[in-house]
């Protein structure tokens, strides 16, 4: 009945499933609501959306499907393959041609036609005056001339007259490579669990109680300490500079790790580990802690996790005085080696996508220092890292 609506929601990345759709139909069938559009909106929202973050997307899709409003979802925009739009040619138009294009029609009509064309067209197109491509006189495409044209995949129109950028996305879908929120991180972190019974005996040990009761002939209660995760974690975050773009991911990792590990210590550093680390970014220049103190304080059974993009100038790692912020007496590489020597279990989590790693020399150096134990900060990478740490 509302299959179209359902598909539109799917397209807009609202996570809806068949089960929820059937639930909606069942509710309609049982006359939960009276025949009012608002009520239908409320009902479909309650049954199809399960996270307040998706409410906005849902509203836009609903408006689009049932009221015919214009669909301008931000991340719903589509992306054309880059090579279509590489500006290979520049075309200069005569005055007559320009006038002719003026006549094409209003904004609304252009957007409508664009939608149709995007669907019709599947190949790279250049020149001509209908299809989307580069350097033509069609209203759609890059670097061409049409006063009312819509720019596609080009940041600034050379004529500076296009009204709206419409980036079509068709292939950007990375699924399980993409970070999906703290729940998934927590599940991945669970790999790193080493249960031990330590501390006050607060739990009843049933098998032992039965055994000793049978042995001694009277009720002999045995208690046992609660099972706790005894993994101890020392996390060192690279903060500031190029890490700013990964801040959300790091926050999610941090909050997930915080709830998962009771024994977790964290410190911040900038770009590379040197002689000082800090706990509060606002007071980083006043309240630095000597890295030696940190290494002495936490015994070797701590597991060390670095979180950083390892992207910097190679001198910042290999030379004394290479740091961008202060004069470091010893190069960062020495500090990193000290950590790997003291702590048997150490990994480096990198928020930069793995396919870009080979292009950054500093990243390669650090990866080498870490003994190849560098993992991308994705669910898959996290999983591998936790396996490595629990060895």
């Amino acid at each position: 009945m509302f299959v179209h609506f359902f598909h539109e929601l799917k397209k807009a990345n609202v996570p809806v499933t068949l089960r929820e759709y059937l639930m909606l139909l069942e509710a309609m069938d049982k006359n939960v609501i009276e025949n009012r559009v608002e009520d239908f909106y409320f009902l479909s929202r309650a049954s199809l959306v399960k996270d307040e973050r998706n409410l906005d997307k849902f509203d836009q899709v609903f408006g689009h499907v049932f009221k015919g409003l214009d669909l301008t979802l931000e991340d719903h925009s589509q992306q054309l393959p880059e090579e279509w739009l590489k500006a290979l040619t520049e075309k200069f138009l005569t005055e007559e041609e320009k006038a002719e294009i003026e006549k094409l029609g209003g904004w609304e009509k252009i957007m409508e036609t664009l939608k149709q064309r995007l669907e019709e067209q599947k190949k790279r197109h250049e020149g001509g005056n209908k299809m989307i491509g580069t350097a033509g006189t069609s209203p759609f495409g890059a670097n061409g001339y049409n006063p009312e044209g819509v720019r596609i995949g080009q940041k600034e129109g050379r004529h500076g007259k296009a009204v709206k950028v419409w980036d079509k996305r068709e292939y950007k879908n990375l699924d399980d490579q993409v970070e999906l929120g703290t729940r998934n991180i927590k599940v991945a972190l669970r790999r790193l669990r080493k249960f031990a019974r330590e501390g006050a005996q607060t739990e009843l040990d049933l098998p032992d109680t039965i055994k000793s009761t049978a042995n001694s002939g009277y009720l002999d209660i045995k208690m046992i300490a609660e099972r706790r995760n005894k993994v101890k974690l020392l996390v060192l975050f690279d903060i500031g500079g190029s890490m700013d773009s990964h801040i959300k991911l790091c926050e999610e990792l941090f909050s997930a790790a915080r709830t998962e590990f009771k024994n977790m210590e964290y410190f911040y550093f900038h770009n590379c580990l040197y002689e000082g680390v800090w706990k509060d970014n606002r007071r980083r220049h006043n309240e630095k802690m000597n890295t030696w103190d940190v290494l002495h304080k936490f015994p070797a059974d701590y597991k060390v996790v670095f979180v950083g993009d390892a992207t910097m100038s190679p001198y910042e790692i290999t030379y004394a005085g290479g740091s961008v912020e202060h004069w470091n007496e010893e190069p960062g590489a020495i500090w990193l080696e000290r950590v790997t020597q003291i702590y048997e279990n150490a990994v480096w989590l990198n928020p930069v996508a793995e396919r870009h790693w080979e292009y950054t020399p500093s990243l390669q150096i650090i990866k080498q220092i870490m003994g190849e134990r560098m993992f991308p900060l994705t669910l898959e990478g996290l999983d591998k890292a936790m396996r490595e740490l629990s060895r």
Partner: protein, 281 residues
């Protein structure tokens, strides 16, 4: 059975539809929202409006799903066996029923409130999937299947401290209690303080929404805090004029303790007041 809101609880249209859908389809209703927007109260009011019993299961960080079904008291049984108690022959005597079992047993449809489900361990909702879906569970000790006589109306609240698993979400209706807009807020105040002076409400609401707008607040005040604050304003007999004073040195509203629950937030306000005063001089 249809829920239409009560005279003590202002239910918006969307909330009403969500509640009714979950009643009719006998599926759990998951309620989320800022703390203090009336998530728990909703269950109480639905129970009152429908005239049915409310069974509340408060979830804590140590709560296990099994505790909602039943618990087997092995120790007492062991002791009884030594004392030669007759009860020991029947294992049923040592099984204590959990909240879910209680709800399943009721001859009339009760409401089961699972409060703050996000407080429990991350696997907790998964452990309840089957039980809430089929409304039955298996008791290993006695080899019996407990099935709900009447599928209870299940209302679940969450404060968003942990994300819930997708499989669990798929089985629920979901409603996010939005922070009330000024009109709804007025209706809520009218419910709590009938006939309150219009001017006082206006001034109080202005201050309230202004505070919520202040960037960087750790905990924004919500409906329940506003109600408490109004109660205090009334008992201290503070006039609308005092509230309206736009003297920057008095940026902190009177009796702010009811609205700001965090010393960092109070500091933030004091700092802002201090800055405002310095600018004036």
């Amino acid at each position: 059975m249809k829920f239409e809101g009560t005279k003590n609880y202002v239910a918006t249209d969307d909330l009403r539809v969500a509640v009714n859908a979950s009643i009719t389809l006998q599926r759990p209703l998951l309620i989320k929202g800022e703390p203090g927007t009336g998530k728990t109260v909703l269950a109480e009011e639905v129970a009152k409006a429908l005239g049915v019993e409310l069974i509340t299961w408060n979830v804590k960080s140590t709560t296990k799903a099994q505790q909602g079904l039943y618990e087997y008291d092995a120790i007492t049984r062991l002791r009884d066996s030594q004392l030669g108690d007759e009860r020991v022959k029947d294992i049923k005597n040592y099984i204590s029923k959990g909240k879910l079992w209680e709800a399943f047993e009721r001859p009339t449809r009760p409401i089961l409130l699972i409060d703050e489900i996000d407080k429990a361990d991350i696997e907790f909702p998964n452990d309840l999937l089957q039980e809430l879906d089929r409304m039955e569970f298996y008791v290993y000790e006695t080899n019996e299947v407990i099935k709900a006589a009447q599928r209870p109306i299940v209302i679940i609240t969450s404060n968003n401290e942990k994300e819930l698993p997708d499989a669990f979400l798929r089985r629920c209706f979901f409603h996010y209690i939005k922070f009330p807009e000024e009109d709804t807020m007025r209706a809520i105040i009218e419910v709590h303080f009938p006939g309150l002076k219009g001017k006082l409400v206006q001034e109080a609401l202005n201050i309230f929404y202004e505070i919520r707008e202040v960037p960087g607040l750790k905990k924004k005040p919500s409906t329940s805090e506003l109600i408490d604050w109004l109660k205090l304003l009334l008992s201290e007999d503070i006039s609308p004029e005092t509230l309206r004073e736009k003297d920057p040195s008095k940026l902190i509203p009177p009796l702010h303790g009811a609205l700001l629950k965090n010393e960092q937030d109070v500091h933030l306000f004091e700092r802002l007041a201090f800055l405002a005063r310095r600018e004036r001089n």
